[in-house]
């Protein structure tokens, strides 16, 4: 353990006092050409909704770039100026959340491979003493997903499938569903970052 680091504590039940942003779920404004919506539910080990949680997402822009100085390719402003890369949504009474964003591009990996398009996700809630982290991949990127080094490290196909969104039928095009199961037989894969 590194000396001096500040430990985590739970967000508790009252995070909604401070953390929701009116535009939080909108990584791009609604109606942005090419925007997709990811909806899902945060569920506990009994399959019950977690109504006092928060989902955050972080991702590359559609060109696979980040507006951040630590990207060794250099910080790049996104072609869509309103693209923020970051989304935040508190969960509703049904555990539901939604994020409106643009599809991220694939990313070069330091080992020479390519990461499939993905979003990093943080999950916070009452009853969680630290965040947990997962990733959202896309169901129509089968080839890229097959070559993705993070997915490849998860041997069990049922476990790997928990990281891949499904196409949300009955919604406008560009709708995806990604449920997050904190515990149980279909528990989502969570990462140690």
């Amino acid at each position: 353990m590194t000396a001096g680091l500040t430990p985590s504590q739970t967000v508790g039940p009252f995070l909604a006092i401070a953390l929701p942003w009116p535009d939080g779920p909108f990584v791009v404004p609604e109606g942005t050409p090419g925007a997709i919506e990811i909806t899902g539910r945060l569920l506990d080990g009994a399959g019950e909704p977690v109504p006092d949680g928060m989902i955050e997402t972080w991702q590359a822009d559609p060109d696979g770039r980040f507006d951040h100085p630590d990207d060794p390719r250099g910080a790049a402003e996104p072609a869509e100026a309103a693209f923020r890369g970051f989304g935040r949504c508190t969960t509703g009474p049904d555990g539901g959340y939604h994020i409106v964003t643009l599809r991220p591009g694939p990313l070069p990996s330091p080992d020479g491979g390519t990461e499939a398009p993905h979003l990093d996700v943080s999950v916070f809630a009452r009853g969680m003493l630290d965040r947990v982290v997962t990733r959202i991949y896309f169901p129509d990127e089968q080839e890229a997903n097959a070559a993705d080094p993070v997915l490849a490290a998860i041997v069990d196909p049922d476990r790997r499938a928990t990281l891949i969104a499904t196409v949300e039928t009955g919604r406008p095009p560009g709708g995806f569903r990604f449920d997050i199961r904190l515990q149980g037989a279909r528990e989502t894969v969570f990462f140690d970052v």
Partner: protein
């Protein structure tokens, strides 16, 4: 489906240290709500690639200077002990984490949150909402003016009370630095029975969540001063970390 980014061979990325034994375990029976919310399977190690060494550098556009003063958000002044809470946001190498968003929330002086779910029969304060935010300056410093929150009961175990605390949320400069925690006050008699505080395995790490009363920060005839530094994960030795993690 997506355009292919040409692979960039052999580039190196910054990487962040991985603190072991620092954070509370997700499954902590003393805190009952963890029982159904803690993953049952081990976390999968995720080497730090591009998405993990970057993060949202934003917030300034959504913060005004007034947001750091929780005592002036309403027509009147909130009840309670006026306090100043200030400190620095650093990484473990001692470098300031500048220009990052800090968001806080807390109960009022009576131990009641301005939230519909809080049914503690203590009074709400019409002059206190309990939320604030600020950006760290170039030295990593933040400063809030607020009132000292009260302790409050919860139903985790018989006669359970939370020590007075302020919730802190830090975006950090990169995804691994994201942190939400709680700041406590020195000498609180409720520490010994609080499973959330005691879920932190190392007693020394627990103590790092306790602010220090500082007479020098205390403003005469106006407000008590508390200092609390927050330390986020710093860089690891890049190449070694990658070699260890890569499979």
């Amino acid at each position: 489906m997506t355009t292919q980014t040409p692979p960039v061979q052999g580039f190196t990325l910054p990487s962040y240290e991985r603190p072991r034994g620092l954070h509370p375990p997700l499954d902590f029976p003393g805190y009952r709500a963890t029982a159904l919310r803690a993953p049952g399977r081990p976390l999968v190690p995720l080497p730090h690639r591009l998405t993990e060494v970057t993060g949202p550098l934003l917030g300034a556009e959504r913060v005004t200077a007034a947001d750091a003063d929780l005592t002036t958000q309403h027509a009147g002044e909130p009840l309670g002990e006026r306090i100043i809470v200030t400190g620095r946001l650093l990484d473990s190498g001692g470098r300031p984490v500048a220009g990052t968003l800090i968001e806080i929330w807390q109960a009022n002086a009576a131990g009641r949150y301005a939230h519909g779910v809080d049914n503690h029969p203590a009074p709400l304060d019409p002059n206190f909402s309990g939320a604030g935010r600020c950006m760290t300056d170039s030295d990593g410093r933040y400063r809030f003016v607020t009132i000292k929150p009260g302790a409050y009961p919860w139903h985790n175990h018989p006669n359970a009370w939370r020590p007075a605390h302020i919730h802190f949320s830090m975006l950090g400069r990169a995804f691994p630095q994201r942190l939400v925690t709680q700041m406590y006050f020195p000498g609180d008699p409720l520490f010994s029975q609080d499973p959330i505080f005691n879920s932190i395995p190392d007693p020394k790490a627990r103590e790092r969540l306790i602010a220090r009363f500082d007479l020098g920060l205390t403003q005469p005839d106006w407000a008590l001063g508390f200092e609390w530094d927050i330390v986020l994960r710093g860089p690891a030795a890049t190449a070694i970390e990658w070699a260890e993690d890569h499979r």
